[in-house]
Symmetry: C3
């Protein structure tokens, strides 16, 4: 793509540089070569901008900016979003050709929308509905009576147990299991008696779920993931959990049964929420936190027994001073004993 084409597509302003230069790739400022486009969105990367070899750089403003002569500067209102557009243009995902591979199993009574792709060895069981333009990759398993929305992509080796519901434009990455039984037992007569898990999983629209994650079906009712929520690899979501819209669950995060997150809440990497605990709207739990009590809306918490972030970090700072404090107390005891009248 030529710089002037990019300028036109992105509605950018070419402030400096040659409109005829060819751009064939995208890279960070530091790694970019002379046919790459990059972006400058954070003042911390100013030193990288000074020495970049990029053919072109997207930025918000050229004011006060120091970049090599050879680099075209394209002004856009939001360089990060413009860069996303560029990535989509330069690296278009190779589409699968619609159609059902003859080696797939599509049981009778399945409703496949227009333009659906079903890869080899995929299994779609009776009663399932697959929306238009959905992509069911090789080896994916879609259980009985599942429903999959338009444009949704189910990657290889993902498994949807019976009755799972997945919205539109969702991406479920490889190896992810939706709707396995929740972990529910009653202890009777010296053994754990299984509580049948007869609920479902219900995933909204525009959700992305990483690889090898697990979202269990509800015991009764539904385990819910709201639209726009993004879930990373190896995340565990227990039965009857309710996750709001536009939440973020980082890698290896986990939510125990019947807990929840309101819209826009963020659960850091390997952080966990205990059962029957709720994170309020827009609240955040830091990496590895153990959230054992409700988190108010907007609050940030951290720690193995998560506390308000400011408090947790003050405690952490105090702990660092603890060995010294013990010394000071010992010293005080000595000095005080000297002042006290001898018995």
């Amino acid at each position: 793509m030529r710089v002037d084409e990019l300028v036109k597509t992105l509605k950018a302003t070419l402030v400096l540089g040659d409109p005829a230069v060819e751009v064939t790739g995208a890279a960070n400022l530091r790694e970019a070569g002379p046919s790459d486009i990059s972006h400058f969105s954070d003042a911390r990367y100013a030193p990288d901008l000074q020495v970049t070899k990029a053919a072109a750089v997207l930025l918000k403003s050229v004011e006060g900016v120091d970049a090599p002569q050879s680099t075209a500067l394209l002004q856009v209102p939001d360089p990060e979003v413009a860069f996303i557009q560029v990535l989509t243009l330069l690296y278009p995902a190779e589409p699968e050709k619609p159609g059902v591979d003859p080696r797939a199993v599509v049981e009778p009574g399945v409703d496949l929308g227009e333009g659906v792709y079903v890869g080899p060895f995929a299994v779609i069981r009776k009663g399932a509905r697959v929306g238009a333009r959905a992509v069911i990759h090789a080896h994916a398993v879609v259980g009985r009576n599942c429903s999959i929305g338009e444009g949704t992509i189910i990657h290889s080796h993902a498994v949807l147990y019976d009755n799972a519901k997945v919205g539109k434009n969702v991406v479920v990455h490889a190896g992810t299991i939706l709707g396995a039984d929740g972990f529910g037992y009653k202890f009777r007569g010296g053994r754990h008696v299984k509580v049948p898990q007869v609920g479902v999983v219900d995933i909204g629209d525009d959700v992305e779920i990483g690889a090898n994650a697990c979202i269990d079906r509800a015991a009764l009712g539904a385990t819910r993931v709201g639209s726009g929520t993004k879930i990373d690899n190896l995340v565990q979501v227990g039965h009857n959990v309710s996750i709001g819209k536009h939440c973020i669950l980082c890698g290896q995060a986990a939510i125990a049964g019947s807990s929840g997150m309101d819209d826009y809440a963020v659960l850091g990497g390997n952080a966990g929420i205990a059962d029957h605990v709720f994170m309020g709207k827009g609240s955040k739990a830091g990496a590895k936190s153990g959230v054992g009590k409700d988190v108010p809306p907007g609050a940030e918490v951290w720690g193995m027994f998560a506390e308000e972030r400011k408090i947790a970090f003050r405690q952490l700072a105090s702990i660092r001073r603890l060995p010294e404090l013990i010394e000071r107390v010992r010293e005080l005891e000595k000095r005080l004993a000297e002042l006290e009248p001898k018995k």
Copy 2:
């Protein structure tokens, strides 16, 4: 199902309400509608019972109980267990029709019991024995010389490496890997030399293992999981681990090599046991704990470096007071200096 039929099946006593009412579903007291049955097993839910719309409620005793007139009350000795029975009646699992799907691979020299189901693309390798009525779902892989007991269910995409042994009435959920190599190396000449992992995995009867879990084969001998033990999603069990009977391992728990749990021990969510460490009978480690030393029978431990629970929580409470304690020590130093004779 009619209420009077349920009364008969559950050997319940209909204390109040219409025996002719139809029950079609089950739900919690709060979510139940006028054709649902529910249960009241915990006094905390008394407010939910007062306003429930359920057609019928299972409870231990109607004494002092406040429930709507329209709700039939069924007295049973154990409402939780009766509710499990009801779930099984109202939501029977749709069985797979016995037989081997023509698209499955069953190598020569496999011994399949009566009434076994083998789904499409399942692979059962030579020398494997599959007990009567076992269900091997689509895409499951059963390695050479594996043995699977009667009535056991192996879900899609589960993999049993060669020589794995699984007992009767076990459920292995989707994506779970039994018998991959343990993580064993010797460091020689600047590199990690693999120790061949030639042992096996040996799972008892009535075990349930969640989705995307991993139980490694032993280096030598066997990694064992005792009968009745329940393991949640994404759990990691290292080589040569020995887990007793009726243990509970919650989501993302982990046990490092050569460690173990005695019968009835409980490992909380994302808790881990270090290598060569043993949890005694009936002991418990709280969520996210790091169990670095043996836990006595019956003890409860908690914390990143797990301590007896009472001690750990006293420490936690002390840490919360630490910033204030530092202030108090500073104040003491000031006051003491004023008392001390000037040098």
Copy 3:
């Protein structure tokens, strides 16, 4: 195998015992039976050696050693490595017969080396190159334009997304996902906008990756794992991570985006590295640690907010004394008040 054959193969010295004894298995000193060989590599196991029933034991020196009369003693310079050799001899892995199973899908334009095995239902997509003697097990998926080196083993249900690169003599265990999208979004207009992940995964030679692990593709460029590095089950490696050579990542460890480990670094079980953080050469993070800041070469760190190990453990010891310290401060306050002049 007879003891004298072993002596010859291992270039050992038979110090004591019958060269004609048959050895059919290998076991630890304690579990070994009269036809097993064992090894004595650690003085802590001297009591086990005294009572072993092993037919033969590999050891460095017989000096000061107390073993049963019936046990042959084989002196070797490195008993652990000799024992690895023995394991390889006594338990040879049953090889797969080279060839492509007729039920596999090998798309046109795939380059398969000599002696490759491709199992049933494996899928190898166009443009992929598979080196000589590689083993692609049943159900593995190798994406478009992937490259797999000579002698590499891809186990069942492993998935390589398009363009993944895996070196020679690598083992990828079952269920592991290489090259799923990194977790990258920009928050705009109340929702998370996906940043296309157009980079790749690049795995060196002699790497082993456990079961159900995830290594994400880079946003741009490559996520790298250096030669000789060993990765355990359920490990999460984020986009643009760079792992050096001969590193160790224990079970459930995790590295967030753009972070890294230099050669020979060790990440303990369930330990995590925050984003943009780097562990120096040969450094170590203990189990469950949260590595939030760079670790110098050779350093050992531990803790939820990881500190130098010695400091972390001194803090831990101080915390244990904290409840008592609070008492001592209260006592000091009382004693001091008695000394102070009454106001």
